[in-house]
Amino acid sequence: MIPSAAAPARAPRATGVANGFAIDARDLTRRFGSFVAVDHITFDVGTGEVFGFLGANGAGKTTAIKMLVGLLAPSEGVAHVAGFDIATQRDQIRRNIGYMSQRFSLYADLTVRENIRLYGGIYGLTPGQIVERTTTMLDTLGLSSNADDLVGKLPLGWKQKLAFSVALLHNPKIVFLDEPTSGVDPMTRRQFWELIYAAAARGTTVFVTTHYMDEAEYCDRISIMVDGKIAALGTPTELKEKFGAESVDDVFVRLARGATKGETA
């Protein structure tokens, strides 16, 4: 099934799964005491794919993403990100990924330009590259006239788009987005997905968590986490067929009903 009519136009994917996996996880597990937040999850994400990581609040999405970006050590299992082992090669992983956390990751008391300069510097871009990419980025976002405004003064939607662009500043192979559109209005969410597609078209793998089920339809493939396990994995079309559901939302509700942990969104 084709994504819903409201979906932004999507260019064909630049590179396919056949080129190798951007992310592969085998039995990845994380325990906090006796609580198993992520329970033996196994999945692959192809290079250039837009991979939706779905689940109710408390299902273990954020814990899984934190393990993949190196903020949490796995209790069990193995995973590779950009070909590097998450347990032993964190330094290589860091240079190859971008990360947009659930919480706003830019500094409100710095200007747009200062924030870009900061992250450009952290990721080892030259001053020339930073100036050039700042100009391109601000043009694309339509923020050129706001370059010297404090980030804290920008509307939320602009902040989120800016944070996403900053996460892509160093042209990472993979970008991790943890609920990037939460609290953002529908129009901005749509623009945000256009940015995601543009990044994917340039070959960047996008790993995105969301609890907006309409957004799930925009992903190449999705996984649905329930109680720390992956309850379903496939293209949105495959999942809807398998569960005989009208929409991903339906699939989700059916799976979530069986959940014991967390609230169902």
Binding site: G70, L71, D91, R94, M100, R103, S105, Y107, I122
Partner: protein, 369 residues
């Protein structure tokens, strides 16, 4: 007013209080620790006063007076000499607190009718301790004189006193270096503690930890800018000491500035460690204020002389960075001494800086949990 609404509100308030364990612990411990520390530190009786004796013509009478000093159990004779030139180096090195100088004719005058002369010199760089030393010494001498008079001997002992390093007993000279030490440690630790815990609280720390930045770089990147800021504090504090309080600068200003940088480094590292170990900005602030103000105000010798603390409390004073910095600052400013005298304190501060920075870096692991 609805009593149930009030009760519900109070229950809610109790929940706030009980759930923030770190703040709760601080609030509970603060008065307790203060009462205990103040209670002990406030005891101002002084024991183990180190005395140098200058006795050009040793005699039964001079030895008798010396033994009176010893029998109080407060005085300990660290050296006996026939010439007074040993006093100055002993005072400068802090090896003696009091010098008892007999006049060469002391014994013969005591047997005759002329006044027997004595000089008591006191290291008064700490005026509180200095006055106490002097009053104890005077008490010993007057009781000796009273005893001799009781034996119907008309004796006159004339005691001269000299306060070294601080002749007018200006407590401001003592107080200002201590105050500088206290303010610097508090402000410096608060700066890094707040700044780092704010990043943790707002979520920007997560993004920094996912970036190629190493934890050591994050810490150094935090400490260095604040070191510059703290150095500005040092300059204004010293300027105020000189211009407003007229505290003398007898030693090297360059050395004093270098030592101040070392001291603020210790304080900033302490702030980083606090931020690493606490989970909110508020807890970090309270903890930083607590771990800097309490030991450094009470145990550094700034307000309460270490000499008057109970023996078991003295080792605890070693953990207060201000204890070492105050000795350094007073030494340089009031006594004009240099590194040859102050190397031990400098070494202690250097060790503290290294230890705290290493601990801070260990605590700031790349993995948040």
């Amino acid at each position: 007013m609805n009593r149930n609404a009030l009760r519900a509100f109070m229950v809610k308030e109790f929940r706030h209080i009980l759930r923030d364990r770190q703040t709760l612990t601080i609030l509970l411990m603060l008065p307790l620790v203060q009462v205990i520390l103040f209670g002990y530190a406030l005891r101002s009786d002084v024991r183990d006063i180190r005395m140098a004796v200058i006795d050009p013509t040793p005699d039964h009478a001079t030895l008798e007076l010396q033994s009176r000093f010893l029998s109080t159990n407060r005085f300990r004779i660290v050296t006996t000499s026939q010439t007074p030139d040993v006093i100055e180096p002993l005072f400068r090195r802090g090896r003696a607190d009091v010098a008892l100088v007999f006049d060469p004719d002391f014994a013969s005058h005591l047997r005759g009718t002329e006044p027997a002369r004595l000089l008591i010199a006191v290291d008064a760089s700490d005026p509180n301790a200095g006055t106490t030393y002097l009053s104890y010494a005077r008490a010993v001498i007057s009781s000796y004189q009273a005893e001799l008079s009781a034996q119907n001997r008309q004796v006159r002992i004339v005691t001269e006193t000299r306060m070294r390093f601080n002749p007018t007993l200006e407590s401001v000279n003592l107080f200002v270096p201590g105050l500088i030490a206290l303010v610097l440690v508090l402000v410096s630790a608060l700066m890094t503690a707040i700044s780092l815990s704010r990043e943790k609280e707002r979520g920007t720390m997560e993004v920094l930890l996912v970036s190629p930045l190493r934890p050591q770089q994050i810490i150094v990147g935090k400490v260095l800018p604040y070191l510059a800021l703290a150095f500005a504090n040092v300059l204004t504090a010293l300027l105020a000491a000189w211009a407003v309080f007229h505290v003398p600068f007898r030693g090297s200003v360059v050395l004093l500035l270098a030592e101040s940088i070392l001291y603020t480094l210790v304080s900033l590292a302490l702030g980083v460690l606090v931020a690493a170990r606490t989970s909110s900005q508020r807890a970090a602030m309270l903890t930083a204020a607590l771990v800097t103000m309490l030991p450094n105000a009470l145990l550094s010798g700034m307000i309460f002389p270490i000499a008057s603390m109970p023996t078991w409390l003295v080792p605890f004073t070693y953990i207060a960075p201000a204890r070492w910095f105050i000795v350094i600052a007073r030494g340089i400013m009031l006594k004009g001494v240099g590194l040859t005298i102050l190397w031990r304190e400098t070494l202690m501060l250097s060790l503290m800086a290294m230890l705290l920075l290493a601990a801070a870096m260990r605590s700031f692991k790349p993995r948040l949990e």
